[in-house]
Amino acid sequence: MMRALWTSLLLALVATLAPAAGAALVSDLSHTEVKVSYRYEGETLLVFGSLPEPGGHVVVEVRGPAKARTIQRKGQVMGVLWMNVEDLTIQDFPGYYALLSDAPVAEFLGPAERNRLGLGRDALFAAAEYRGDPAQAAPRDYFDGLLRHMTDAGLYQEKPGAVRIKQDRLFRAELRMPSRAPVGEYAIVVRQVKDGSVVHRDTQTLTVAKTGIEKWLYDLAYDHPAWYGVMAVLVALFAGWFVGMITRGEAEH
């Protein structure tokens, strides 16, 4: 039902764009804002658009807000206990990264070009800046450890085949945002690749923001932590007393 609707919408779009074909790659999102409310369980968006010329491949790259990530490595201490022994910090690493394409990116883009564009695992590693000097393992091991955790949480995705191309003109891809996806601005870059290089590109911005009581509590916790603390204690006292009263009341009957 939804798919049929989008397809007809896209066909209408391409029909109106057809005369101007050759001009630019046009992309859009099913919605440009993800609202994190108390019922939020993650969300699936649609990235879609039209290609100015037929053929080639389409890559959709999504980067969430960046921050420094510290990865710790466990080692055996005194021959018995496993504890964190070393760490490495990667500066400005995206909290969410998705690479959606119609075929494995390595099949149509060479390593040099992928690195230049920052596409995929190896390119992210090459571009990352490190802080710390671990002796027991290479930075790449730490990096892979980070991506393993992010992949498990749905925060790192490489999905060749997620982009569908229709009639050489239309493309669409489903983008899954897990509930752990960080709030902030997401950059979505769509590229059309032909003969090993990018021929067209378009960018979109997606905002993930808390709303309603989630936003209020989060802002209070970080902006007015003392008030948040007082509230946490009072709410707990009242709620505990209230529930206790109810259960005791029932017990006496």
Partner: protein, 304 residues
């Protein structure tokens, strides 16, 4: 049915949390312990970050202990003078503990320290209670509890001795201050009420009569965990009110069931049962420390 937690920043199943709170609540009512020593590791297993699990647990214990404290006050099971000294110790200890959490988080060792402390504390206390409980079970067959308790003669005499009328004993105020302070530090780091340490300390170290021990420890826990909740919110931003409320709804109902169960069961049997639960938790955590982890790499707190 899922709910998104505002501070933990993740989506969790409501019924899983209600059930977890309920199970821990039964223990709380049965033994007069907060049950935090089970709640914190269980929350961590659900994927909630360790510092958030511990701090939120302290907040939940505030709620869980208010209803228990009121119930024990009505039955005149609280030694307020003893409790007041323990509260003062607890306030100082929990403030220091919150400071220590911030420091250990920056070092990246908070999870390790939490686990090691759990193993040591639970292992020691579990074994002690288990042995004592077995002795009591074998020794007094059906005798009334506390009646023929041997009078404790203190091995050392601390200064500042004072009389505690409700408990009917004389001891130095440094003892309840010290016990309260120690438990306060644990409350902040581990997110436990500390009843599982305080109850044996009050029985064996101070020599308080069994019937005021649970009420007085709940009284201390209430103030210490409230203080912990406040300072964790201010310094570490790790208290999730929504998560705490869900846990407490389960735990308060569970606590009522536990309290009623407790009055029907024998004290010595309960102590052996609690000892076994404590030992099992310690063993589980110890395995996590000595077995090679599935993934050597972990993502540090980093924070916001």
């Amino acid at each position: 049915m899922n709910l998104y937690l505002p501070v933990a920043e993740m989506s969790v199943n409501i019924f899983v949390l209600l059930g977890l709170g309920g199970a821990v609540g039964v223990l709380s009512g049965l033994f007069g312990v907060g049950g935090g020593f089970l709640m914190t590791p269980l929350l961590m297993m659900l994927g909630i970050p360790a510092p958030v699990a511990a701090a939120t647990d302290a907040n939940q214990i505030v709620a869980a202990s208010i209803s228990g404290t009121i119930a024990h006050m009505r039955r005149r099971n609280v030694d307020f003078k003893m409790g007041a000294y323990m509260v003062v110790g607890g306030l100082i200890g929990s403030k220091l503990g919150v400071q220590l959490v911030g420091y250990l988080r920056a070092l990246g060792q908070i999870d390790f320290v939490i686990t090691v402390l759990f193993v040591v504390m639970l292992g020691l206390i579990g074994s002690f209670m288990f042995v004592e409980g077995l002795h009591a079970l074998r020794g007094s067959s059906g005798g009334d509890t506390g009646g023929k308790k041997p009078k404790k003669t203190p091995r050392w005499r601390l200064p500042l001795r004072t009389h505690f009328a409700t408990s009917g004993l004389e001891t130095s105020i440094l003892v309840p201050l010290g016990v309260g302070g120690f438990v306060g530090v644990l409350a902040a780091i581990l997110g436990v009420g500390g009843g599982f340490i305080m109850v044996p300390a009050m029985i064996y170290l101070i020599g308080m009569p069994t019937q005021v021990v649970v009420g007085t420890s709940l009284f201390q826990i209430l103030f210490t965990t409230a203080n912990t909740t406040f300072w964790q919110s201010v310094q570490n931003q790790t208290v999730d009110i929504v998560l705490a409320l869900l846990l407490l709804i389960g735990s308060v109902i569970g606590a009522q069931i536990g309290t009623r169960l407790g009055s029907k069961l024998q004290g010595e049997q309960l102590r052996v049962l609690l000892a076994l639960i404590v030992l099992a938790t310690a063993a589980k955590l110890l395995l996590g420390l000595v077995l090679e982890p599935d993934d050597l790499y972990v993502i540090g707190g980093g924070g916001h």
